[in-house]
Point group: C2
Chain length 336, copies 2
Amino acid sequence: MDLVNHQFQLAARPTGLPKPSDWLYAEEPVPEPGDGEVLVKILYLSLDPAMRGWMNDSRSYIAPVGIGEVMRALGAGRVIASKEPSLAVGDHVTGLLGVQEYAVASAKAVRKVDTQLAPLPVYLGALGMPGMTAYFGLLDVGAPAEGDTVVVSGAAGAVGGVVGQIAKLKGCRVVGIAGGPEKCRYVVEELGFDAAIDYKAEDVDAALREHCPDGIDVYFDNVGGEILDAALVHLARHARVVICGAISQYNATDGMKGPSNYMSLLVNHASMTGFVFSDYLERIPEAATDMAGWLAAGKLKAREDIAEGLEGFPDTLLRLFRGENTGKLVLKVADD
Amino acid sequence: MDLVNHQFQLAARPTGLPKPSDWLYAEEPVPEPGDGEVLVKILYLSLDPAMRGWMNDSRSYIAPVGIGEVMRALGAGRVIASKEPSLAVGDHVTGLLGVQEYAVASAKAVRKVDTQLAPLPVYLGALGMPGMTAYFGLLDVGAPAEGDTVVVSGAAGAVGGVVGQIAKLKGCRVVGIAGGPEKCRYVVEELGFDAAIDYKAEDVDAALREHCPDGIDVYFDNVGGEILDAALVHLARHARVVICGAISQYNATDGMKGPSNYMSLLVNHASMTGFVFSDYLERIPEAATDMAGWLAAGKLKAREDIAEGLEGFPDTLLRLFRGENTGKLVLKVADD
């Protein structure tokens, strides 16, 4: 083959928001797959808040991306060459394919998906890592009971929107926190949340008091910072705070802000528990079955916010941190 | 009766450390007990970090002390008049008696104790609120397994010293964090901890790395602030952080500092859970039986740090926040 592969490599570790010089847009020949490998033409890339953490040189649940390496990203694509019997040319797969046009991947590292069941981008959202994150974080870590009040921040995002919908399916009252009237309208009118708080326009503390008169039983946090602190003030007894992310803090240049109001955990005998998606790899089939069933039955709505063109990757990634996406932010790299 | 009662009333809500003008030392006649009440001559007062919180006008697990009210404190004394058949003159009792020489209390609000079994001050320490706090916080919230590494801050204090000893009884490796060589010697040589870290002289982060090579399974926190942040960095997977107090933050004038490293909860699938003693009132008999048995068998050591004289209350209370006490800080008010 004489295909050319364009890719974004990490050129420098960012301070604060990633800037153009932190990336190198490189052109390389497309390698041949070896035994047990496939060559994937990437069609969609998933843009996730966690990617910012992968760019830091610090101990975490996954090794940092090395300088000069292709930026790590989940992606979805089509197999165009295969040296592995279980995957055929034409199959659609997802996996950690990287910010590039073509990826050679071990067949074990990708997952074959059925585009008859759902469009390919959905496998990066509701049926992918964000959806599974929402499923396990809410149900396993948050453990909501019927009638509980569940509050979720980043409510119009890929994870938050699914969290709220699953909580509704489980009989909870659900309040979302999101930025701007359009997102708030979306989570209430389209996703069926009971209420939404626009943190850009409202006093979150006062709004939580109004919408959660009996306190918050489960707070699912995607944002950290001041919103986490506001939620802590309104915990009910034995509340569970689920720490899924802290997007407001990922680009802080003066260090992360911890939750000043954490003594609310003491007063309310409450807990704050963190998790990452990969803690639940063995239980993915369970979640996938439930989620696909809910999607098929129309009980769960998936929405993707699709940008186009690999070259726009650096700026599209920033849309996450500016809070500009509604639903799962995906970058379309090529036509199928 | 024509007894005179001296008492400390809260005169003003402190900013930062309580200062002399925040107190009013008042002289009042001793009231007569009514039906169902007893008159108690207070012999010992318990000085506890939680008292600082009771002085603030903020929502908590217990109402704040009102301006002009006698300062709330746990105490132990002798019944000198009784209008309640179940309590006789000469009985020793403990309860929320207040910072004063005499208290009229409902018989239901005090607990009769046996000074043949243990000296009266022990009922304010290992057999009182701090001991029970240690017991339930460690065993119920922290849930240590045999072989776990348990780290406790405020290790030479009334709660921390008991936490470490119970953890040893349960087969854990125990590392204490305390201020100064004398406290560190005390927790290792007298209380039997495996190691102690002097936070005033050592790099806590480096010392935790050295003493907890497999990470911390249970971190019992009494202090908050930088030490909590250091401990978070060294959590093992599925670690439990027990939030019992945050004495380093109670007198902060620029707001509480939250734990900046709380994302370690996410990376390690760890939890941070708070509690207060009063969550466990119904289970006190269970703890009291265990604790008294361990004390009698010499498996648990109780130590009180006894100051004398009611008039010295304001300054003696400050000893807690200066970290000057080793063991349970008690104020002796009168001879029996």
